[in-house]
Symmetry: C2
């Protein structure tokens, strides 16, 4: 299908057209890339700005179960929900061991939901770029809520925070002395900390953990983009559908407050600036791969470094001089 044919189908909310368009933007082929850019241009005027929610949590906290329950609640209320993922570790292998097919079974059958696993790219930057474009496609297709999930602690969280309006951290119940494991950098990114598994035997532990995180959040300086009471820690149970309503109310309240106080648009503007800088960086680095003489020089110097004949510092200085960059 050409971009001309895809665009109206996406605008009318056809999920298959959306899936094909995302496959197009994920392609590494030059001609696909050009078509993807054309398509994004055709959809630039499409109405609808989704609420973009970032969701992070390490393996084992019940992220898939949470997204399924949360997504089912939202679709039952008539929302259209898209779920995307940013997972740099899928680059090596093309996905998690079990893959995404077996996850979120109920939600994937829901007509008002759209689920897409992480693109497999060689670098986190590539994954993030494609995901950012996929968000635009989902918005054009009329999805009012876009959830972007990511795994673990690390730079993928920063990337997701840079493309979302709200950032939610999903945690498991833990012993009190394990709280130190949450790095302040991540805490400072989170708008909402959800302590999952507040059910059965783990319920008291989840409540204690919630109180611990609430206390820790309280120690951090209030950010200008937060109303009173945020960031907040809430105990939820994805398997028992508990606390999900409250969590959604909190997300809406926070988004509304930020919209009214200019922080919502300011964040999106800062994000646009951020991605512009990233694209320029990416373009600069691409030069190394395209120029055959430079590539040959890189290979030669790399071999000398590998053989121990040159240090990393000396070889890189020589290469940068060849590229016209002085230290």
């Amino acid at each position: 299908m050409t971009p001309d044919e895809l665009a109206p189908r996406i605008k009318s909310g056809e999920r298959r057209a959306l899936a094909r368009a995302i496959t197009l933007i994920e392609s590494g082929r030059e001609d696909h890339r050009a078509q993807a850019q054309e398509l994004l241009g055709l959809l630039a005027d499409a109405p609808g700005q989704a609420l973009r929610i970032g969701l992070s949590g390490t393996p084992g906290v019940g992220k898939s179960t949470f997204i399924e329950s949360f997504g089912m609640m939202l679709t039952a209320e008539g929302h259209k929900v898209a779920v995307l993922a940013v997972d740099p570790s899928s680059a090596r292998s093309g996905g998690s061991i079990l893959g995404d097919k077996t996850r979120m079974e109920r939600l994937s059958r829901e007509p008002n939901a759209f689920i897409r696993p992480s693109p497999s790219q060689s670098a986190l930057g590539g994954v993030a770029r494609r995901t950012r474009e996929a968000v635009a496609l989902c918005e054009a297709a009329g999805f009012g809520i876009v959830l972007i999930e990511t795994v673990g602690v690390g730079q993928s969280e920063t990337m997701v925070a840079e493309m979302t309006d709200l950032f939610v951290l999903l945690m498991a119940p833990a012993g009190g002395d394990e709280l130190q494991g949450v790095k302040r950098g991540i805490m400072e990114m989170a708008d909402l900390i959800l302590v999952n598994k507040a059910d059965g035997d783990l319920k008291p532990a989840a409540e204690r953990t919630r109180a611990d995180y609430a206390g820790a959040l309280h120690l951090l300086r209030r950010r200008p983009q937060d109303p009173e009471g945020f960031p907040k820690a809430v105990a939820v149970s994805a398997v028992e559908d508990r606390g999900l309503r409250e969590a959604w109310d909190d997300m809406q309240a926070l988004a509304d407050w930020r919209r009214e106080n200019g922080h919502f648009d300011a964040r999106r503007a800062a994000q646009a600036r951020y991605w512009f800088t990233e694209e320029v960086r990416r373009g600069l680095l691409a030069r190394l791969d395209r120029d055959p003489a430079m590539r040959a020089r890189m290979t030669d110097l790399g071999e000398k470094v590998a053989a121990g004949e040159l240090t990393v510092a000396h070889a890189s200085a020589e290469m940068l001089a060849a590229l016209g960059v002085t230290a």
Copy 2:
């Protein structure tokens, strides 16, 4: 102290001189940077190649307790053990909430141990670079074992794997259906999976989890750099000192086999090549920050993107053209 004064003290194994030298390499000041490079040059001929062991695990798996028990066992046998950390999330805030001072109390009092928290840098690349240089300093100071710990799932693990001879993944006991959370990319990096907390109530769960990971590892194709039986999953208890001896025996057996079969040196050569490429990239990007005209142009285009007057794609193409890079 000048590099000339520091070098002999480091070579004689003075921990305070080593700590000062690492502070020097972590400094962002231009003159410190030059001194650090001079110092590294002076130490380049120092004998001693340490066994470099990468250790990763998400918060809550008991990483600090493991390192303390494992480190105490090694120092008791006469080994000199250095512990470094790569934690990109410390960039924002300068460390974890509780900081590193309260961790590994016994090991930090041990004369044959040296513990250093993660450097605070603005980017993971900076953290990795400093840590790589700190490894060289520790080796010059006669540390025969260098442990480099990192947190969580993400690019910091790749960075640590790129500077170590062995990569160990520390896991917590989990329910069988949580196994899917471990991404194949991480599994493929691991040489040894240690399932911690094989004590008390969690002992049966730890053994089940160990068996699950062993089964998962078995599904992966054998890598050329592994002898029969590796990668391996072992249950350990850091609090009860159980399985640590076996884990160390495994690490040594693996390192010996790789040395005998050429894989050890091949890995180090590939790593040297990798860091050379990274340094060239870093240098290319630094150009953007140094040229005032280019900086002004970036700012101007960035504002237009933020205001929605230009798309990210258009603005970055314009900037790259100004930098002489054609698409």
